[in-house]
């Protein structure tokens, strides 16, 4: 009796505590539910059928689509391409953005203009980037002409037609597009580091390198972890830029899981199969995101998403 009466007011006040925030969240939850959760559920449903998107849904095949997707060599290649882009982003693009941010954190004339120029590619849409770079990379196009004019003619390759390098060409375009974005994120992080710490280190006789390594980088940790996270998720979902530049070709040499989804699922009207690819892609992103936030970003999210460690 006493237990019930002591929990009853608690339950009521908990509901009162939550009801107002819940009501505030309701519109956002509805939109999220309608435009994110419902389509995901629909995709999961469609993936159980052999369906061309136009006819009625009556060819149930169970998990057959999933088995075929995972056994398909083109999908496996596409998944590997995604992994390659993620790895290259982590070990080339992020360090480069970080280095630039460190440079541009010091005061010098023209700093703002440089920041603007480096950030500008991020503003251009993926499709336009793809179309323009396709023209630039065309055999005999501006890139080839530029290389020849500085005597680098021997470096010229078939940038988009050579199956062994097309993925790297695309990575170069991706880097061009996103390094400014990561640089700005790092700059914002850098500005959160008090100047006094660097000054104190300088007084103690630390070299620039030691200062960066031991003071700035650790303090920049949360920012870098955010950048890495965005980079990984972006790499796994890569579609627009690849499709606009190469359509996943030549012969699937630049296919990503998302371009594979579009090519087979929509262009070849195998909607059920494409839905299976979509669900797999969703699960991959979900696992990566949850694992990353729980493991790598644990320190940054303590108290917000996990029980704070005292």
């Amino acid at each position: 009796m006493t237990a019930t009466s002591s929990t009853a007011p608690k339950a009521r006040s908990r509901w009162r505590e939550w009801s107002l925030p819940f009501l505030f969240m309701l519109p956002a939850l509805l939109v999220y539910g309608l435009f994110v959760l419902v389509p995901i559920a629909q995709a999961a449903w469609f993936s159980l059928f052999d369906w061309n998107g136009l006819e009625p849904l009556n060819d149930f095949v169970g998990l057959d689509n999933y088995a075929r997707v995972l056994n398909d060599t083109v999908f496996q290649q596409a998944a590997w391409h995604n992994a390659l882009i993620v790895l290259l982003s982590l070990f080339v693009q992020i360090p480069f953005a970080l280095w630039l941010a460190l440079m541009l954190n010091n005061r010098f004339r023209g700093r703002t203009l440089l920041r603007l120029i480096f950030f500008a590619p991020y503003v251009i849409s993926e499709v336009i980037t793809g179309v323009v770079w396709r023209l630039l990379l065309y055999p005999g196009g501006m890139v080839d002409q530029g290389l020849e004019s500085v005597g680098g003619g021997f470096l010229i390759h078939e940038w988009l037609a050579d199956r062994s390098i097309v993925m790297f060409t695309l990575f170069a375009v991706i880097t061009w597009k996103y390094f400014g974005f990561h640089m700005i994120i790092m700059l914002a992080g850098l500005q959160g580091i008090p100047r006094e710490l660097e000054e104190a280190a300088a007084i103690d006789g630390a070299s620039r390198r030691q200062t960066v390594r031991s003071i700035i980088l650790p303090l920049l940790g949360p920012t870098i972890r955010v950048s890495v996270f965005l980079s990984i998720i972006g790499g796994v979902q890569l579609f627009d830029l690849v499709w606009a530049t190469t359509r996943g070709g030549p012969a699937n040499a630049s296919a990503t899981m998302a371009t594979y989804l579009f090519d087979v699922g929509i262009v070849r009207t195998r909607m059920g199969y494409g839905s299976a690819v979509a669900v797999i892609l969703f699960i991959v992103c979900l696992v990566v995101a949850v694992a990353y936030v729980r493991l790598v970003m644990r320190r940054d999210t303590d108290g917000a998403m996990t029980a704070a460690e005292n």
Partner: protein
């Protein structure tokens, strides 16, 4: 035709269209609006479609036509997306046959058999049949031609070649001569995949003949000897490295540009190439008088005939929700007066309207039309004759062969497997 002559022709055409009063007039009820999904991205087709729409609107007050022009691949994606969303476009580009069948089965396309009853006798039956399914009419053709071997007379002469090859072995020998002379033998748009499919499909038609082709499409078995041999012959060609730099990534437009700039000697493409190689070239003039056209060479020991052709047509289909004026507009486009204007551009569009042929002034187009009319067997583009599912797989498999990723056996095996998967 020089650029100024063409401008003049366009202006003249505009005047003539204005004069075709009464031919396209229908009873307009209130405000009617419909979209036309059109693939003519370059002149004269681009300007002409809008001109025809304006003329039709002028004769039918209350009708509003929105012409949406998109590049080939983008257009296919757009139509696909619209259909998947359940709102088919009103008037849209169609190549008929297998792909159209899928759209019809989904209830996205209007049955216009009754609406076209009055013009049926004015249009070539062969062209109309591409848009017929189970005896009902689901589209109206505006272009009907075939794929052939375009060549650059000057480049062939440079390599010491007098005439384009008539047999496949001769063709391979010529490719070697061209390479030795430092000339790129062939321009191909393997990036778009279907230009690559043309090569294999023509070889298969020459080697297997009508029976093998019809059999394969009906049964879904593409592992027959004719198809493997076609793959092997194509591989012999690919191993000679005959294509332009960047060929594996090149689109159809880029392919036409390379040929139109005089950078390659041969190009296997459809009848529209006569205008495309001009429009896509850097100068805008194409290769001018050096342009030649020949039929695809025969293959020694093949069952197919020189007079068998591979090609198809273009047409417009009408979406399920489109107003009756939409059908009238397409009928207007292929009506004798308007068709004659279009045909007079000689840009490669071969109108299937009776009597349009007399407006063909270009000797090459005249030859193409003659070969079309004499054809013993016409094989439709494979990616249109089959479903989008199988057609896309065929295109991709041939592109894989050309990229060196698949052997001929693997290619035909993949295609057969996809056919089996598509069938159930």
């Amino acid at each position: 035709m020089s650029r100024y002559l063409r401008m003049g022709a366009l202006a003249g055409a505009s005047a003539i269209l204005a004069g075709t009063l009464g031919i396209g007039a229908v009873v307009a009820q209130d405000e009617v609006e419909f979209d036309v999904y059109d693939l003519h991205t370059v002149n004269p087709g681009l300007a002409f479609t809008q001109m025809a729409a304006d003329a039709f609107m002028g004769q039918n007050p209350g009708v509003k036509i929105n012409v949406v022009t998109l590049e080939n691949e983008a257009l296919k994606d757009r139509i696909s997306a619209d259909m998947a969303a359940g709102s088919p476009p009103d008037v849209f580009q169609s190549w008929g046959s297998g792909v159209l069948r899928q759209q019809v089965d989904a209830g996205m396309v209007q049955d216009i058999t009754d609406a076209v009853a009055d013009i049926k006798d004015e249009i070539s039956p062969g062209a109309m049949s591409l848009y017929q399914l189970d005896g009902r009419q689901y589209g109206i053709p505006y272009n009907f031609g075939l794929v052939g071997m375009w060549y650059n007379k000057d480049l062939l002469a440079e390599a010491g070649i007098e005439a384009p090859a008539t047999t496949w072995q001769e063709f391979l020998d010529q490719v070697q001569l061209l390479k030795d002379a430092g000339i790129t033998p062939i321009s191909i748009g393997a990036g778009d995949q279907w230009p690559a499919m043309f090569w294999w499909a023509y070889l298969a038609t020459r080697i297997g003949g009508q029976e093998a082709m019809e059999n394969a499409i009906a049964t879904g078995d593409w592992t027959g000897e004719a198809f493997v041999r076609a793959g092997e012959e194509l591989k012999r060609l690919v191993d000679m490295d005959p294509f332009q730099p960047g060929a594996l990534a090149a689109t159809h437009d880029e392919q036409q540009g390379v040929f139109g700039n005089g950078e390659a000697a041969y190009m296997l493409q459809g009848q529209w190439a006569i205008g495309s190689q001009r429009a896509q070239s850097a100068s805008g003039q194409g290769i001018g008088n050096a342009l030649g056209w020949a039929q695809f060479p025969t293959v020694e020991g093949g069952a197919g005939l020189l007079t068998d052709v591979f090609g198809g047509g273009d047409g417009y289909s009408i979406g399920r929700d489109a107003p009756p004026e939409a059908v009238e507009f397409v009928k207007y486009l292929v009506s004798p007066d308007v068709a004659s204007v279009w045909q007079s551009f000689n840009d490669g569009t071969l109108l299937p309207t009776n009597g349009a042929e007399q407006y063909i002034t270009d000797p090459i187009l005249a030859e193409v039309v003659q070969k079309r009319n004499e054809a013993t067997f016409a094989q439709l583009y494979l990616d249109q004759a089959t479903s989008p599912e199988l057609g896309g797989a065929i295109n991709a498999a041939v592109a894989d062969l050309i990229a060196g990723v698949k052997t001929p056996e693997e290619m035909t095996q993949t295609i057969t497997e996809e056919a089996a998967a598509a069938a159930d």
